[in-house]
Amino acid sequence: MSETILEIRGVSKHFGGIYANQDISLDIPKGAIIGLIGPNGSGKSTLFGSITGYHPIDEGSIKYEGQELKRLRTAEIARLGLIRTFQQTHVYDEMDCVRNMLISRPMRGGDIRTLLHEPSAEDRDRAEDLLEFVGLASKRHLLAGSLSFGQQKLLEFAMALMNEPDLLLLDEPTAGINPTLINGLIDRLRQANERFGVTLFVIEHNMRVMMNLAQEIHVLAGGKLIASGKPKDIQNDPRVIEAYLGGS
């Protein structure tokens, strides 16, 4: 049995009287690619927000590499090696792609004195390599804000890899990406997992992507975890079909 990198136990989060997540428990094995699906409003992004400290949870526990995350702030969680991307792209608009990459170097420990150095040649090489990896090498000196939505998604993915995460949460990585480029992106996600050893936990609406990519899928509906299993099993699970088709 593989080692667990993220352990979620009995997590609940409500906003006022509405439960966005209710008693969710699941494990993310180290080195795996795990999917999270569910209809709109099922609480997927809220769960990502809870894991990364944006929405402090009301009940339950979230442990990363055995360490409780509940009381940690977003930046502290990120410095442990747990990075997320967003549904709406978050890049540094007024800086070029290379600078976006260089800023994303990991800041383990958070000692401010380490900030008083210029980026090393090694950092620059890695930034260039990763831009090449996601196919943005020719855009390296353009402002991030001037890129298309899909290109910003790719840049955000490269920035996340630059941070050398152990666990990467990707919120709809293919949304807004030109359909002809999606296969290439799936390959890159797989390569990131294999080449850099990054565990991926992915929210995705594109079922074809999810079936091709994920080794295991968890399904949320109405804030609850309704199913977990292999992609083929999930595809045929009547609870999942009902959740998506809205059966009575």
């Binding site: 930046a75 978050h90 800023i103 800041m107 958070g110 150095h117 001037s146």
Partner: protein
């Protein structure tokens, strides 16, 4: 040992400014002292008080910078936890409160303000302040150029563009903002010290927070040149001074109306200032050449 030699010896051994003045007064009452002795002591006094005045001014400015840096760290660590409108209101309130607070301190002259120490003979204060100001600008510019190239500068830019993202990437946004605030406070203290020396009088509630003049002008300068850039505030200060001289010379009586119109024009048509405009042109050219490469 002559009387003058005796006084000179003593003057060398003690802080001379009040002591020498005191001895000179004593010599005036002593009928045995010759005019030549007195002249010698006075010349010595002038020769040593001028450098002491300059040194004291510089030490005072440095002390103000260090004190403000520390205050900036303490206040900033709390105030910078707020964002957006709350931060804007917080900083505005802090400025007003600081003025009122300083107005209660007798050693700062209280509500009446304080006069700057008159320079001794041999010190051209205007020239001294000009070169000190120029030196401070040069030091600050070099320092910021270096800081901009470090990861600290990168993080500051990241916070400017997208603070949520910066936090999600594990950057220590709170600490960087606090240190940036304290650094700015230190240099603002030096600027304030030079400004007070130049005005010869400073009053915490009227001069230091004079909204119709310096309070607005200091914001207008980076807006004109381009905020968030290194050269923007410098270019903005030069442009502002040129416009101000023009308005005050040729539109006197309407000069504030003209300045107000200029502010409106800048905010509406050039929100990123001169440097922002230049950067947009550079970006367009870069995109064009990128397209050319792709083709």
């Amino acid at each position: 040992m002559s009387r003058a030699e005796e006084i000179l010896l003593m003057a060398k051994a003690v802080p001379p400014f009040p002591k020498v003045a005191h001895r000179v007064l004593a010599m005036l009452d002593d009928p045995s002292v010759k005019a030549a002795d007195l002249a010698e002591v006075i010349q010595y006094d002038a020769a040593i008080t001028a450098p002491i005045f300059v040194q004291s001014l510089i030490i005072g400015l440095l002390a103000a910078a260090i004190l403000n840096f520390v205050i900036g760290l303490i206040v900033g660590s709390q105030l910078l936890q707020t964002r957006g409108h709350y931060f804007a209101v917080g900083t505005l309130g802090l400025g007003v409160a600081a003025g009122e607070f300083a107005g209660t301190m007798d050693f700062l002259g209280g509500g009446s303000g304080m006069n700057f120490i008159q320079p001794p003979d041999g010190v051209n204060l205007t020239q001294l302040l000009y070169f000190l100001g120029l030196g401070v600008v040069a030091i600050f510019f070099v320092f910021l150029t270096w800081l901009h190239r470090t990861r600290f500068g990168f993080v500051m830019n990241a916070i400017r563009d997208n603070e949520d993202k910066a936090e999600a990437m594990g950057l220590p946004t709170g600490r960087v903002k606090t240190f940036a605030w304290a650094i700015a406070a230190a240099f603002a203290a030096i600027a304030g010290g030079l400004y007070g020396a130049g005005k010869n009088f400073i009053d915490p509630t009227e001069v230091a927070f004079s909204l119709p003049t310096v309070g607005v002008w200091m914001l207008l300068m980076p807006l004109m040149g381009g905020k968030g850039t290194l050269w923007g505030p410098i270019l903005g200060a030069v442009m502002f001074q040129l416009f101000k001289e023009f308005f005050w010379t040729y539109l006197f009586g309407w000069q504030r109306v003209a300045l107000g119109l200029l502010i409106v024009i800048i905010v509406v048509f050039f929100p990123d200032g001169l440097m922002g405009g230049l950067r947009a042109v550079k970006e367009r050219l870069s995109r064009k050449s990128g397209k050319g490469e792709a083709a």
